[in-house]
């Protein structure tokens, strides 16, 4: 899945996100949300670059249960899970550089040194 932002839904969130062995970023978005569309290409690029983590996208209108469980009330919301644990929450569109810095801070030691350059 690395390098591609795959779709995830209520039915497979447990397997794909909570059961993942690598960190997973979940992009909670909706078709009508303008800032979500702005963030989309940024996340596509980061998914290709940060190959130690997975990126998935969840449509909150089609898949409302997971969004409610994690109390997602603003869009876009990015949640990062490591070993099933929520470790980072970013609400609202942010510049590519900010998102990248926050994600690189979660990288395994060896990767972080290479990617902070």
């Amino acid at each position: 899945m690395n390098g591609v932002v795959a779709r995830v839904g209520d039915a497979d969130f447990g397997d794909v996100v909570l059961g993942a062995v690598t960190p997973v970023l979940v992009d909670f978005h909706a078709d009508w949300c303008g800032p979500c569309r702005q963030l989309e290409p940024v996340l596509d690029e980061l998914a290709a670059e940060l190959d130690w983590m997975s990126f998935v996208r969840l449509d909150v209108d089609a898949e409302p249960v997971t969004a409610a469980a994690y109390r997602v009330t603003g869009l876009p919301t990015l949640l990062v899970f490591v070993s099933g644990e929520l470790v980072l929450s970013i609400v609202g569109a942010r510049p590519r550089r900010t998102v990248r810095e926050l994600l690189v801070a979660l990288a395994p030691d060896g990767r972080r040194a290479a990617q902070t350059a």
Binding site: D10, D12, G14, L18, T66, A68, A69, Y70, E85, L86
Partner: protein
């Protein structure tokens, strides 16, 4: 007890012996760490395990509810009387916060029970996702509350309550009223994963009747523990 148990935030010095309070806090933290892992690692179709988790959750929730209820009924009112008489507004504010934090935890416990109940009835990916989120929230909120209590409320207790008064309160109201049937369930839960250097002196001090009740309760508790947390690595909550 000067050694901090795993996860314990503080042990303010003073005349009162808070050993049992810290043992209970250790049990709540240990359980929530195991429940969080179980919600993530237990396969959806393992119905027997989800049923055991529901039964184990009910034990946890009953003990936590009992602990908070006794604090709300006996400990906070005792402290409130003393800090108000002294005009200690900062301490009174901490007691308000303790009661408010208790009130926020109850709805989370209900939500978690509903999640376990649903998974015990049959596989539901959405229930598992909701349960994982609710449990993580319960662990974080209860963890923050216990830390706040250890840091600030117990510091107040140590300042205002003489050792003999605390011992009497523990004997009569906090530990009092427990029937042997309650102790058979409570004691194995208390000593589970407790470091030896803490459990050994506690049991020696507790006396023979307690040690007998512990021995009676251990097999059943151990069976439930293994059935509920069969997919959880042994080091979680240790």
């Amino acid at each position: 007890m000067t050694t901090l148990l795993p996860g314990q935030a503080a042990a303010p010095a003073g005349p009162a012996d808070l050993s049992m309070m810290y043992v209970l806090h250790h049990g709540f933290r240990r359980d929530l760490a195991r429940f969080v892992a179980a919600a993530r690692l237990t396969p959806l179709d393992e119905r027997a395990t989800w049923r055991a988790l529901l039964e184990r959750w009910d034990l946890f929730a009953r003990l936590l509810h009992d602990h908070h209820h006794k604090e709300d009924e006996h400990l906070w009112p005792l402290l409130r009387g003393k800090v108000e008489a002294a005009g200690d507004l900062d301490a009174a504010r901490v007691l308000d916060e303790m009661e408010a934090e208790h009130a926020t935890i109850d709805p989370l416990l209900e939500a978690v029970r509903s999640g376990f109940s649903s998974l015990a009835a049959g596989p539901s990916p959405t229930a598992q996702t909701g349960l994982a989120a609710d449990l993580a929230r319960a662990r974080d909120e209860l963890g923050a509350h216990l830390g706040h209590e250890e840091q600030d409320a117990i510091e107040i207790l140590q300042r205002y309550v003489p050792g003999e008064e605390w011992a009497e309160l523990e004997r009569t109201e906090l530990r009092g009223g427990l029937a042997p049937g309650d102790l058979v369930r409570l004691l194995p839960w208390c000593v589970e994963a407790l470091p030896d250097e803490v459990s050994r002196p506690l049991l020696a001090e507790a006396g023979l009747p307690f040690r007998v009740l512990l021995r009676l309760g251990r097999p059943r508790f151990g069976r439930l523990e293994r059935a509920a947390f069969v997919f959880v690595p042994e080091d979680v909550g240790a």
